[in-house]
């Protein structure tokens, strides 16, 4: 089966600084891939290239066999790519329900309708769909709260609900547990596990919590200084010496000294 996502020599440079450097990667359908790497390794930048927030300097992104490198974010969303942001990114002054309802409306392709009321019989299904998703991410009871009044962990769950509303084939989750309290982590984990268990979505996850990654992932990709350092099953990665040094330090100087090192691997 064709991979759902393929990158070839993906590179972006900000002036002299190359944030993502020649990353070639393929993700099969319905696969769960985690991306790890130390801070500043280019993980989020890599996601931004995939979802179109940043334009590639070199290389291509292929999604479902189609070259999407030049498409703007909304077009990639319509093709079935959904991403969450590391910084919570919701509509602060709209209600929780409305946040999700907008996403459901977008998915249904209702974009320029301006005669009927948004709660008319024809559009009420959006609200029902949104409520269903809110229940799925355990936010059903907060439907009328303004998003700005949610706790941080709840905002992350809201984001996931909005993402699911788009029914993406590929989910890009950027540190869904970043900055939330320890008590809330299991709930997020539970939500992700539920999505995974449905089995019809490809998921890419950026995370730092190793136990969570090992628990969920089919494969792991390690980025370091913008380069692809390793890619393999969780066991491979755990036993990989270079990955360990990357995390424990020391490799940085080596990598700078011998540029070819990572490529050889």
């Amino acid at each position: 089966m064709d991979p759902i996502l393929q990158t070839e020599g993906l590179t972006i440079a900000f002036g002299a600084y190359t944030a993502v450097d020649d990353v070639t990667l393929a993700v099969p359908r319905n696969h769960f891939k985690s991306i790890i790497g130390p801070n500043g390794a280019g993980k989020t930048t890599f996601f931004n290239l995939l979802s179109g927030q940043l334009k590639v300097t070199q290389g291509t992104v292929k999604f479902k066999g189609q070259d999407v490198s030049a498409l703007p974010p909304f077009a990639r969303t319509r093709l079935g790519m959904g991403r969450s942001f590391q910084i919570t990114n919701v509509f602060p002054k709209l209600t929780v329900l409305e946040n999700v309802r907008l996403a459901v409306q977008s998915q249904a392709g209702v974009r320029f309708h301006m005669l009927l009321h948004y709660r008319s019989r024809r559009f009420r299904v959006f609200e029902e769909g949104a409520l269903h998703l809110l229940d799925m991410v355990l936010l059903g009871s907060r439907r009328d709260t303004l998003a700005m009044h949610l706790a941080h962990g709840e905002k992350r769950k809201l984001e996931i609900a909005m993402l699911l509303a788009l029914q993406p084939d590929l989910l890009l989750l950027d540190e869904p547990t970043a900055g939330i309290s320890l008590e809330e982590v299991p709930a997020i984990l539970e939500v992700i596990r539920r999505i995974k268990s449905e089995g019809d979505r490809t998921i890419m996850l950026i995370e730092h919590k190793m136990e969570m990654i090992l628990d969920l992932s089919d494969s792991i990709t390690v980025l370091f200084n913008g380069k692809l350092l390793a890619d393999g099953t969780p066991e491979d990665i755990m036993n990989n010496e270079m990955v360990q040094t990357a995390y424990l330090g020391g490799l940085y100087d080596d990598a700078v000294a011998s540029q070819g090192h990572a490529d050889v691997y």
Partner: protein, 328 residues
């Protein structure tokens, strides 16, 4: 209700005239609120649509004569021109950051002002010109009702507009453009759409405005007009259509009263000073505008189930206006 009965009770023509103008400016302010309050676009040249509507009617009445048919045609022409204009300005600048739109609208309205001044054969330049209006509209009471009906219709129309799927997306754009885009909405279309709707509505208010004066000159293109709309919207409450109506009433009333007071003390000749004070007071006491602040207080009061729509919108409007009428 009070407003409907009013013309039969009062025989003060100037009072009726003032209310008519309030209705018209309420329409203008509501159109501005679609941009500023619902889509989050700042425009510094909203007067250009007002002016286009105004001059369409003025020129048409002058050239083709005062008939209902040509009046309607003139209003329609104004709307179409405004729609075109707002489309062009929008397409040119709404892809960019918001201040480009603000600057470009400022430039275009300046351009139209110069055009109105220099194209003397049609506009009679700075002095403007008076024109005849159809027989029917000469009656102040009729005009009053027309303005009232149009205000209510525009209010209902725009209210429906902001509650359609498109209207909800506009509010999403206001809240977070990047997020809206990543949901799969192409935001520039929505912004241009908002600017067209606002432009058409503003053109309508401009057409009505010159009908009450039977006179048009270049002040309809002046910066003051835009500032009026801005102040009315901000004082009443950004993002609430009722707020625009209330803001329009307050500003027009304040203007009227303060000028009247000049009879008692010459300092009121400088009514604009007091106007400034009033503005400062409102901003201090009602940071989110009158309606906006009251509404958020109300939500805090019954925190359990905040809803952002009030089904009794129309009645509150006439009540709140009715109150002011009683005070006066």
């Amino acid at each position: 209700m009070v407003l409907i009965g009013l013309p039969f009770v009062t025989d003060s023509r100037s009072f009726l005239m003032m209310l008519t103008q309030i209705f018209i400016f309420a329409v203008f302010a509501m159109s501005y609120d679609i941009l500023l309050g619902y889509t989050g676009i700042v425009s510094f040249g909203h007067c250009m649509f007002f002016g286009v509507g105004a001059y369409s009617v003025g020129v048409m009445m002058n050239e083709k004569g005062a008939a209902i048919g040509s009046l309607l045609l003139a209003i329609l022409i104004g709307m179409v021109l405004s729609a075109l204009l707002s489309y062009i300005v929008g397409m040119l600048s709404l892809r960019l950051k918001s201040h480009f739109y603000a600057m470009l609208t400022l430039a275009f309205s300046g351009l139209l002002l110069v055009l109105a001044e220099k194209w003397r054969s049609v506009t009679h330049g700075n002095d403007g010109f008076t024109f005849q209006v159809p027989e029917l509209i000469k009656d102040r009471t009729v005009l009053y009702f027309i303005a009232l009906v149009i205000m209510v219709l525009v209010y209902l129309g725009l209210r429906r507009f902001i509650h359609t799927p498109v209207g909800r997306v506009l509010q999403a754009v206001r809240e977070n453009e990047q997020r809206t885009e990543s949901l799969g909405f192409e935001i520039v279309h929505y912004k241009v759409l908002a600017s067209i709707v606002a432009g058409i509505t503003a053109s309508l208010s401009g057409s009505l405005y010159v009908l009450t004066l039977r006179f048009v000159n270049t002040t309809v293109f002046s910066m003051d007009m835009t500032l009026n709309a801005l102040l009315m919207t901000i004082i009443g409450g950004v993002g609430t259509l009722i707020g625009a109506i209330i803001g329009a009433s307050i500003i027009e009333f304040a203007h009227h009263w303060l000028t009247e007071l000049a009879k008692f003390h010459p300092i009121f000749e400088r009514w604009i000073i007091f106007f400034g004070l009033l503005y400062i007071l409102v901003v201090l006491l009602f940071p989110a505008g009158i309606v906006g602040t009251l509404r958020s207080k109300w939500h805090k009061y019954r925190k359990a189930r905040p809803q952002d729509t009030d089904p009794s919108g129309v009645s509150t409007e006439s009540e709140s206006q009715g109150k002011k009428v009683n005070v006066s």
